[in-house]
Amino acid sequence: MSVAESAITRKVVERATSGERIRELLFRAMLLLCMLVTVAFLGVLLVDVAVDGVGFLSLEFITSFPSRLDPATSGIQSALIGTLYLMALCALFIVPVGVASAVYLEEYADNDRWYNRLVEVNIQNLASVPSVVYGILGLAFIVRGPIEIYGLGVGQPTLLAGALTLGLLVLPVVIIVSREAIRAVPPSIREASLALGATPWQTIWKQVLPGALPGVATGVILALSRAIGETAPLILVGAAAFQRFNPTLDGQFSALPIQIFNNVGEPEAIFRDLAAATIIVLLIILLLMNSVAIVLRNRYEQKW
């Protein structure tokens, strides 16, 4: 009986041919290979940097100022402080502007209007504009030009101008991520709030934004981690390397990627190891920020 049944089954549901199975295996192997290539590249990079740089890592390295003349005692203090300043100022700029833009586009803008659609398409495109272009923009409009944020003399670079330039660079990303987080708050929550006599403003402020907060925070952190890794825009707005004093808001400034870039350009081999050590510090900061983003997302993201 059971033999007969299985015979029937075999006839109805045919077995996969060996050709099909081989294709399936090949496909899987190819996918695995692609992934391994990516991971291997990253791994080699990390190991190489670690081997070169880890010997230089010390508290002294972090607390000393960089020096072109005496590489043995060279550190990264001014660059590290500069990066932390840039990050904080950039956050101060992108959080209110980015979230407000996202709220307008999601909650108020009428998508049938051409100007709202234009803004939307523009934001998508701005997110993919090369960062060096933002650098030129920052130089022309923020450091010089109409905004003219300068330090010691007209057109002199300042930390504030650098932070604003980086902010402009990542603002599209913040807006896009915030819009997604706001859109993830179901319409039924807005309806519930409005039906209780809340104004649109109260509804956004007390229901929609709290619900979107974990998503917005994650997006802001990821945007900031992109911002502090950028080199090109900072070079254009005049960030310095080997700075022997800590940056102030309205003065000359340095940053970790700038220091790395200039270290690599020095002729002596020891500077390349110093660059590796600086890269490790930058990577640690980035990893910490991304971990915070992941924790935020996993722990506080609202399940609707």
Partner: protein
């Protein structure tokens, strides 16, 4: 369930018109007014049509809904009953393309007049939705949200307790007011949404298929609650469940889908009468066919 299932035989005060005496056992401070005003119209609709982006959804609705009654809107899908109920507290404003023609009078005041603020309308006319939609907060915060944004005076603990008691939910949740409302059952969540609406002390409660996502026992609890609430409130309910309309409502409006021309459909009010009449001897044959289950 102890509730009668043969509702049409069950004469209710509202059905037997305004002469019905208020039940004395109700804990109620407005029952006196209610009896006196039972015949007063709370909503008067005059030739109301609603369209989405120029496409009419429901047309030419004229009727008057009475105070302290439960009015049921029934009809097949697409007949515009949900559209119409959303006109009554201007929730349709949220859809930019929606346009309302005709007059919607609330206590003789045109809800669509230029000087009417929809936010003020919704303070007086609460709404409970198809799917329970509690805020992702504690039970307490869910109730307290409305009174807070409206700036209501008084002890918030008392307001919350009062609202939960009115929704017959207090005893079930009094020990876990600080826990998240998402942890409640679907039926409890819906009663929480009703309690939340109670907390802002509206005059009217609109319910858009409030039981469609609930099991029969939770449905029974909400129907009992509606019958309790109508002493103090006027209730309008949209329902797909004809037994439900028969069980709870005093008056029933039957809507149907008219094919205006090829491919175009629009909802129309067919008949509006005391529920008993709609379910036993309706004037219109379409109503009879619908309530006896011949279509819909």
């Amino acid at each position: 369930m102890e509730r009668t299932t043969s509702a049409p035989d069950d004469t209710r005060p509202g059905v037997s018109a305004s002469a019905g005496l208020p039940k004395l056992d109700e804990r109620d401070d407005r029952a006196g007014d209610a009896a006196g005003a039972a015949a007063a119209a709370i909503f008067t609709l005059d030739d109301v049509s609603v369209a989405y982006g120029g496409v009419p959804a429901v047309e030419d609705v004229t009727f008057a809904l009475r105070q302290n009654e439960i009015t049921a809107f029934i009809g097949p899908s697409g007949c515009g009953k949900s559209t119409l109920i959303r006109c009554l507290n201007r929730m349709n404003d949220l859809i930019p393309s929606a346009t309302v023609a005709g007059k919607v009078l609330y206590h003789d005041q045109d809800l669509y007049a230029d000087d009417i603020d929809p936010v003020q309308v919704r303070k007086r006319i609460g709404m409970v939705f198809q799917k329970p939609n509690p805020f992702p907060k504690s039970i307490f915060e869910n109730i307290a949200f409305g009174p807070r944004v409206l700036g209501m005076k008084g002890d918030m603990n008392e307001i919350v307790e009062g609202a939960l008691r009115k929704a017959a939910l207090w005893d079930e949740v009094k020990d876990r007011l600080k826990t998240n409302a998402f942890g409640m059952s679907g039926g409890q969540q819906q009663r929480l949404c009703i309690a939340r609406t109670m907390a802002i002390e509206p005059e009217v409660i609109l319910m858009d298929e409030p039981c469609s996502a609930l099991d029969p026992i939770s449905t029974g609890a909400i129907e009992d609650l509606m019958l309790d609430l109508k002493v103090n409130y006027s209730i309008v309910i949209v329902t797909h469940n004809m037994q439900q309309a028969a069980r709870v409502s005093d008056r029933t409006a039957f809507f149907n889908v008219d094919k205006v021309e090829e491919g175009k459909r629009v909802g129309k009010l067919v008949e509006f009468a005391p529920t008993e009449k709609i379910f036993t001897k309706p004037d219109d044959t379409r109503t009879e066919e619908y309530v006896t289950g011949k279509f819909g």
